[in-house]
Symmetry: C2
Subunit: 323 residues, 2 copies
């Protein structure tokens, strides 16, 4: 039965090539840093982004070409580079439960380690020898960084409009998902419509993924999140559950005043608990579900195949993470 | 008389297009940051790197094509990005006598501002639609960052071999000079030999330039340097004058012990003064002169023209900066 093959299982052989390519940066790197680079890459999670690039390519041709492997590595390396700088910015000591580079190295080395991963990501993208792929890569890097700057400068703006949320999560997450699927399609020589369909799939999937992440930030347990519940709000970042909560609040201004006056964890903790228990969680989840359904629908232009099925199933999986 | 036209004057019209292109990033950028980006670019010095890219192109064709302007902007933007992160790493409050971004912004914003300039530089490089240029760009970024990591990790290694100096300054400076001239040649459709000659010219010029910079760090006045004399040694960075000084010292180990025991500015100040007054300065200057002469000689494969003459004169100018 096709449905039982997950995307990550399907692309595993190609994903192993991506993994080997990424870990290869350590062999050419300045020796004292090789181990640190490997540790950074080793904590990279599920490799969802390169899997998306590979699966988009595999819709047209299997196994992945060397260039498809290169772009998948570029996408994941770029993701890791942004995580390194994010950790520095957040002063996060813990991400996914392991010690980050930031805690072990001084800040200067951490900035440079992130830059090094950016450089290697750019190198992998250039290996595709595909001008539109390289341009998309540079563009995505710009969008991600600009999004981070926006997030930094809009921190603690409790009263910002909900419309500001969507471009922010597009920049943060969906842009790279969309870039992954579009790059795979471009390298496979897909038609313009097919490229667009896979870009749209990646974008909608990424939006769903980030909304679910933002929900989990409220509902998750500290032990599984590896960070405090409500961490976003504590950092002054307002996400979809909060927007719905505020919208439903009888006295919106009272909530905003309470947040403006909060500087300790205590007051914020109260509001986080109120958001968690509110109907806002269900509303946000429904919106994630809408994005996931749109993502699935984008694939209808492709003939049925195990790759299409796995990509469709992935959309369901992404939103099922919150149960 | 040809000799009186300087390189920067020759390429001025094209350089103004580069300037306009670079400043264009502010118009598309997140509004609160536009002014900060312009300030960063405004303090960018003489624009030597883009001038080199343009002049290399102009050897074959004038005026510069849009793509040559794009690569010149990419090179200068990359240079500015590395300066932003360097300032952060050095915790430098002053560079070229003006307040840096680092002093005004928090560190997180500074990391991201540097990333943003990297992203825009990558975008400009991609605009050339020239695969070898894009690959060279990614490679140069990697070399520069790796060099900075090496420098950071070899800090206060007073006893390191002189041979470690040359790859370090290649990475820091000469690689981008060489990348600028090579990119210009590639975009002008130069032959393989011509591309190589211009790469070698840029590399030798960059080596001369950095050695002179390292000399000026000892001989310059605080008021013109915009930073303390002997700043490199104070930061634990050993450069060519120091290597010659150590080589000439009757008791090499005594110097190294003195540096190892120094943690205040006082002891280091003594050694800086000894280096300044020693014959090491002349030896280092002679070596810079050798690199500059080699750079000039690389151009002999090109027919005489005002551009070739200006590039030759630039080599002389670079080493004349120390008088």
């Amino acid at each position: 039965m096709i449905k039982e093959v997950t995307l990550l299982e399907l692309v595993r052989p190609d994903l192993e090539r991506v993994e080997a390519k990424m870990r290869g940066i350590a062999s050419g790197a300045y020796a004292p840093l090789a181990a640190a680079f490997l540790q950074l890459l080793g904590s990279g999670g599920k490799r969802l982004r390169p899997a998306l690039a590979l699966a988009a390519y595999n819709l047209f041709e299997q196994p992945a070409s060397e260039k498809a492997v290169a772009v998948a590595a570029a996408v994941e390396m770029l993701h890791n580079a942004t995580l390194v700088h994010d950790d520095l910015i957040d002063n996060a000591l813990v991400r996914r439960g392991i010690t980050t580079l930031n805690a072990q190295w001084n800040k200067g080395a951490t900035v440079l380690a992130g830059d090094y991963l950016f450089a290697r990501a750019a190198g992998f993208a250039a290996e595709t020898e595909n001008v539109p792929v390289v341009q998309l890569f540079a563009d995505t890097l710009r969008i991600i960084v600009e999004g981070e700057l926006r997030q930094l400068f809009s921190s603690r703006q409790w009263d910002q409009p909900q419309e500001a949320y969507y471009p922010r999560i597009f920049a943060k997450t969906a842009s790279l998902f969309a870039s992954a699927t579009k790059s795979g399609a471009l390298l496979a020589g897909a038609s313009e419509d097919e490229v667009q369909a896979l870009y749209d799939y990646g974008k909608d999937l990424g939006m769903a993924f980030q909304i679910v992440d933002d929900i989990l930030d409220y509902t998750g347990e500290e032990s599984t999140l590896g960070k405090p519940v409500g961490g976003d709000l504590r950092q002054g970042i307002v996400t979809l559950p909060f927007f719905y909560f505020l919208q439903n609040s009888p006295d919106r201004q009272a909530v905003i005043r309470a947040l403006e006056n909060s500087n300790g964890a205590g007051d914020i903790g109260d509001i986080i608990n109120q958001v968690r228990r509110s109907d806002a969680m269900r509303q946000a989840a429904a919106e994630a579900q809408d994005f996931a359904s749109r993502a699935r629908a984008r694939l209808s232009v492709f003939p049925q195949s195990e790759y299409r099925q796995a990509l469709e199933d992935l959309a369901d999986f992404v939103v099922s993470r919150h149960v």
